[in-house]
Subunit: 190 residues, 2 copies
Amino acid sequence: MANTRAYLAGPDVFLPDPKALAEKKKKICAQYGLEGVFPLDAEVARGELSLREFGLLISRVNEGLIRSCQLVIANVTPFRGPSADVGTAYEMGFARALGLCVFAYTNAVADFATRTRAFVANTGLRDNGQEEDLEHMLIESFDLPDNLMLAGAVVGSGGVLSARAAPSDGLYTALGAFEECVMAAARSIS
Amino acid sequence: MANTRAYLAGPDVFLPDPKALAEKKKKICAQYGLEGVFPLDAEVARGELSLREFGLLISRVNEGLIRSCQLVIANVTPFRGPSADVGTAYEMGFARALGLCVFAYTNAVADFATRTRAFVANTGLRDNGQEEDLEHMLIESFDLPDNLMLAGAVVGSGGVLSARAAPSDGLYTALGAFEECVMAAARSIS
């Protein structure tokens, strides 16, 4: 039987040595019978392309990798703001529309509203009791770990969201919550 | 002939009066022969649902609205960080995988790397010349307006990205760049 392929979405690609983390994640996947597929696996060469053309080529290649997978395990640890990396969010939506099962993990355990409040520094109350930031934009508070569309992808597709606090120097490298997702994914296909 | 339906993704839903902006957007759409579909159109009632269940219901309803549309016009103006709102990014990926044409606009004209540098306050250089933030995470620099997956959705689907500077008090409400997208979308279907 062909392996079940899991696309490993996340801001991991921005690490100084993304391939080292990719190897660790793939090893954990293999321990549970999954084949981990990392965005950088395709080894896209820039050649004569402009930076812009190269970026667009990488996006096409990543979409192709997602299409080749049966599930996604997304790192939704907050990245440069209170929410997940937008590239990861995009890939979760892409996978969900294709019918893939979406798992997600975060190395930050504070809930979304709490993180947003900390990020915007100051909040106010609307006449209807809703909380807003200083630019009068709503603080989303649905008792979910991030924007409701991301949570909806996980729950709606039958996936699992795993959250574990990581030490601050391991925010993007700790793999405990990731392994919980892998275990849940392995159970879901067995 | 049935109307061409355009899903109006964006952080607009977090405004104090999102329906007022929705009406303006729909009016512009109608002027160009499109039917604008706003995330709040479904008027989902909370009833006895927990906040969490209510959030997940809204996500399912929004996915259904996207499925009912032929194209998306996404507001990718940076939201609480250097990138677009993650819910919007998710919806762009969802739409792209369904084969919809994805248009996007931003009311901030600085490019992604410039915005990211301003956000992270300080950057360093890797031995290979790549720029990183103080947490050693890469500054993405592909001469694109945001993460390459978002740009890839627009270009790959035949959409248009429109950027226009807005006054600071109109960052989430100015509609000049939006109207450029609507015009391009109308041309694309005529």
